[in-house]
Symmetry: C2
């Protein structure tokens, strides 16, 4: 089934089921008012939601037309957003660009940061930022929403907790990262509000493309209307979602509704660094990666980070070319304080 | 007023108002079922809660006896827990113990880390951990719960968003910190679930002890039944809560219910490092600090971190010796996986 949270003036939106082709939706308030409420009692709620989704699917004249731009992120706010760096290729490139060795442990011990989860952007909301100088960048990712996970969960237990899958734009402020990481406490200012796809889907919606706790389809990233990335999220993913969840739950339990991210999707393509789509490669899911490759190849980054007015679109298509999650479609805008603030 | 969330089998507990002397409580479901629900609509709910608290206070025969051990943390789970390091003295000691210079910017630019907020411990729950070798430590702190804060809020706006004040035990795993910070992405495993005091109080409950967005009272930390720390939270606090909130909101808004922590309370006492209570000093709100002082003075840390069975009690008393927030009272226990996990 596919679920969305429509904007209705409330903090958590209105939970709806959406048809597989994203054409229609049906509110399911009588089952659960919000997605978090459904996740809080998933064993009881999921069968009821699945039934409602099936009825909507089978009755073409029911429901309302689904419009992606009316959707919040499926969880407009969440109790946890923990983002891995599972495409170690991406991490290795970062290091290579600054001529640093990557510790070999990075291939066996996942990198993960604790993100802010209280104020996600809606998938079609602008990315509002005070300064272009912050180095505004997108990061195209896959993310899962999990059920309760006990502390110390093993891989099987971790895998069995995966309830829903989304795509994500983990907005990053590259200009703020070096100073912030230099302070030693990890990201804070450099990771502002992230956005997630208009719909979250259960693993069965992905068929054989969801295997081994990975999603093996290209993540399409368009930048200012042109193809920028199409890296396959199932390739070069060093840590699958079960491994990322186990990592997150090592010293504490995870509450239902926790979102675990993959980190920027990145394909290595053989032994060298990735290539742009125009050069026949899989392109990039963030600007930082092309800048790293430019730095390695020419000694300096060429592609600038996002400016006010720039747009990014992140989407994943099934074998028939249909959008699975709907698109994240965002424009960077300059922040202007509101009178009411 | 004073608010608590009693354990009732639900994820968020039962919101109650508590008398100023912590002797009685009254459920307020008709106003808001949970503290987060009250925070989501504070302007409307706060006057009703204050009225209920006043009625409970004035009618000695109403309500039920309040028992701290029946309370969750006021927010059993929250959308954000961002913890500062406002007592820069503490940070300077950490650096000094490992013979590193502290960057001068640390006096002007707050350190803050994004903590996990999905699974807080109740104030009388055990600290359950798999290994003593993790280096289990307490961190006695002050924390505030804020209302919505817009991105880029100035100091006045930040200060005006403070709704409730608590004390906290930011449990830390010292043995995991060096490797984790070495990876560059900040704390994750090293910061397991934190605990907060049984009640959260509005600033007016603190009278003149709440001034300049600081709480000027000693934070009493008892370790295994003996006084360990009594540092005054209003002294040596380089960044007050308005400054910490402004810092947190620099590149994104904060959602109502966000918890902002002070970091480990620490008093310098003149120019030298702090002294133990038995030596006439203010003692320590975490074991790491006495270990740092031991390292500076003798070349090696002497006091071990917490072992299974060790207890910590964190409390703050008013001028008459009454507990303001109730006590955090926790025992370290060895983790044993449950069959049902």
């Amino acid at each position: 089934m596919k679920l969305a949270s429509l904007k209705n003036g409330s903090r958590d939106g209105q939970l709806v089921v959406v048809t597989s082709d994203l054409s229609r939706y049906q509110p399911v308030s009588e089952i659960a008012p919000t997605l978090q409420a459904a996740l809080d009692d998933w064993q009881a709620k999921a069968p009821l939601l699945a039934q409602a989704a099936k009825e909507l699917e089978n009755n073409a004249n029911t429901g309302e037309p689904f419009k992606e731009e009316t959707a919040h992120s499926p969880l407009p706010r969440a109790y946890q957003w923990a983002d891995g760096s599972a495409y170690v290729n991406h991490v290795e490139l970062v290091r290579k660009a600054r001529k640093a060795e990557m510790p070999p442990s990075f291939w066996t011990d996942p990198l993960m940061y604790q993100g802010g989860s209280d104020s996600f952007l809606a998938p079609h909301d602008p990315i509002i930022m005070a300064e272009e100088a912050y180095g505004i960048d997108m990061e195209g990712e896959i993310a899962v929403i999990v059920d309760d996970v006990p502390m110390g969960a093993d891989l099987d237990r971790a895998a069995s907790a995966i309830r829903l899958i989304m795509i994500a734009n983990d907005v990053s402020l590259r200009g703020l990262i070096p100073a912030e990481l230099g302070k030693g406490f990890g990201f804070f200012h450099a990771k502002p509000s992230s956005a997630f796809s208009p719909v979250a889907v259960t693993p069965d919606e992905l068929g054989s493309n969801w295997q081994d706790n990975k999603l093996s389809l290209p993540l399409m990233v368009d930048y200012n209307g042109a193809p920028f990335g199409k890296a396959n999220a199932g390739i070069d993913m060093t840590f699958n979602f079960a491994e990322l969840i186990r990592h997150a739950a090592k010293t504490r339990p995870l509450c239902a509704g926790t979102i675990i991210g993959s980190g920027t999707v990145s394909n290595k393509l053989g032994d060298g660094p990735g290539k742009s789509i125009s050069e026949g490669g899989a392109g990039y899911a963030c600007i930082a990666e092309i800048r790293m490759i430019e730095t390695i190849e020419t000694g300096a980054a060429i592609t600038p980070f996002m400016k006010f007015g720039d747009t990014v679109r992140i989407e994943m298509l099934d074998a028939s070319g249909n959008s699975i999650f709907g698109a994240i479609q965002q424009t960077v805008e300059k922040y202007a304080p509101k009178e009411t603030d």
